[in-house]
Amino acid sequence: MGRRKDETGGAAVTQGRKHGRQSPSPPHGHRRAQGELEALILSALREAPAPVTAGWVQEHLGMEFAYTTVMTILTRLHTKGVVSRERDGRAFAWRATSDEAGLAALRMRRVLDSESDRGAVLARFVTGLSSDDELLLRGLLRETAEGSAEGPEE
């Protein structure tokens, strides 16, 4: 208990310890979108030389976010499977297991899966096929293959 008290408010970056827990939420007014925050914290983890604590992440981001915010986002990233954590004394040490693109892919999948409107907004390269379409398409594909084998295109 005493140790934690000593470290509370300590500005030094100390790996493997949790600190700054009691620090109040910074009074900045702007709200970042969830997605940006996740990406920010993930990239902080990726810059870390080794598994680090939430406190380290908080420091690394210039104390811009409350400890609880960082913890919440880390837990969310963990649920998504893009970070792993291991017990390190009293705290968790977090490590990125995926890059920003992997995180973006997960989030995009969720958008695509949850939005019934997506087809109306995102002009997709191809749409679904019926089984008749599939047969027809295979025939056409053979036709393109034969055509290009026979001679130069166009």
Binding site: A33, Q34, G35, E36, E38, A39, L40, L42, S43, E100, A101, G102, L103, A104, A105, R107, M108, R109, R110, V111, L112, E115, D117, R118, A120, V121, L122, A123, R124, F125, V126, T127, G128, L129, S130, S131, D132, D133, E134, L136, L137, R138, L140, L141, E143, T144, A145, G147, S148, E153, E154
Partner: protein, 312 residues
């Protein structure tokens, strides 16, 4: 005036033949533009008609805030069964407004969410996402963020270098020509009047064909575009077990591929007047123009009656 005032509500039916003809005979660029304009006009007329019917039909109801002159017997005579029609139009108009708000909100929500998903990636037009599901689409720009082409690695893995160029050129064409506006406009039109749904589907298809043609120009080979579209559709099909139900006629993808294997449509193609297609095109064009015109006239006539009856 009689049943004449209801014309704008049902006249969108006359646009159906021109949908087919435009798809078959116009360059997809022209077809998408023409059908969007026609759809927009007919939707505006139809909605205006609903508003006017509602105004006339409810003007005599006690406690309404409309000018007293609008409940004159001469005004009410313009609409058959005005009381009943007025009440129905209130419901219809509300339904249209709700459908519009939902569509617009949904449109911007998808765009916003998709852009947020990409936060943290380099700010390049092409975003490649490591995903086992094959997909590719154009994400229009949103509140200061650029439009992006989003492609999954699974999609890229199934295509060779030329086909990848096709894919990206196709999506870039969507962004450059702002096809999302066409899609949103015709979607709203179809919500205003369900009879305009065929127009919406035709515009969606024409936008894809348009982007295909642009990609073919970029890559220099229609056959490569055809192959890319077919391969992409087949891998997407495998990944998604649930495909839309089979229709009597081929779905959009085989039609796109077939169109690409056919010669390029001329930029300004209106079928020659002498041919059957030409004749049909002219008849359909005349019919659509006449219907749009009578819709406008009906709307204008009702407006004029109301203005005349408005106490100054």
């Amino acid at each position: 005036m009689g049943v004449f005032v209801f014309l704008p509500l049902v006249l969108p039916v006359t646009a159906w033949p021109i949908v087919r003809l435009a798809e078959q005979h116009l360059h997809p660029r022209g077809a998408a533009r023409l059908l969007t304009v026609v759809g927009g006009l007919l939707a505006v007329c139809s909605t205006l008609c609903l508003v006017l019917l509602m105004v006339v039909g409810t003007a005599q109801l006690p406690g309404n805030p409309l000018p007293d002159g609008w409940s004159d017997p001469e005004v009410r005579a313009a609409v058959p069964h005005e009381k009943y029609v007025g009440e129905v139009s209130i419901g219809a108009l509300l339904a249209v407004l709700v459908a519009w708000s939902l569509a617009v909100a949904g449109h911007f929500r998808v765009r916003r969410r998709a852009h947020r998903s990409l936060a943290g990636l380099p700010d390049a037009e092409l975003a490649v996402l490591p995903d086992a599901a094959p997909y590719a689409y154009a994400l229009p720009g949103d509140s200061g963020r650029r439009g992006r082409v989003v492609v999954s690695t699974a999609m890229l893995d199934h295509l060779d270098a030329d086909e990848r160029r096709v894919l990206i050129a196709h999506e870039q064409a969507h962004l450059a020509a702002r096809h999302h506006r066409f899609l949103l406009l015709t979607r709203l039109a179809a919500r205003a009047n369900p009879l305009l749904s065929p127009l919406r589907n035709a515009v969606t298809y024409s936008a894809e064909r348009w982007a295909d043609e642009e990609a073919a120009r970029e890559v220099g080979s229609r056959r490569t575009v055809a192959r890319a579209v077919a391969k992409a559709a087949l891998v997407t099909r495998r990944a998604h077990a649930s495909a839309p139900p089979a229709f009597a006629e081929p779905g959009p993808v085989p039609r796109r591929v077939a169109a690409l294997l056919a010669p390029e449509p001329p930029a300004r193609s209106w079928p020659p007047t002498g041919t059957a297609a030409g004749l049909a095109a002219w008849v359909a064009a005349a019919g659509t123009a006449a219907s749009a015109l009578s819709a406008l006239i009906a709307a204008a006539a009702l407006t004029a009656i109301l203005i005349a009856a408005t106490p100054l």
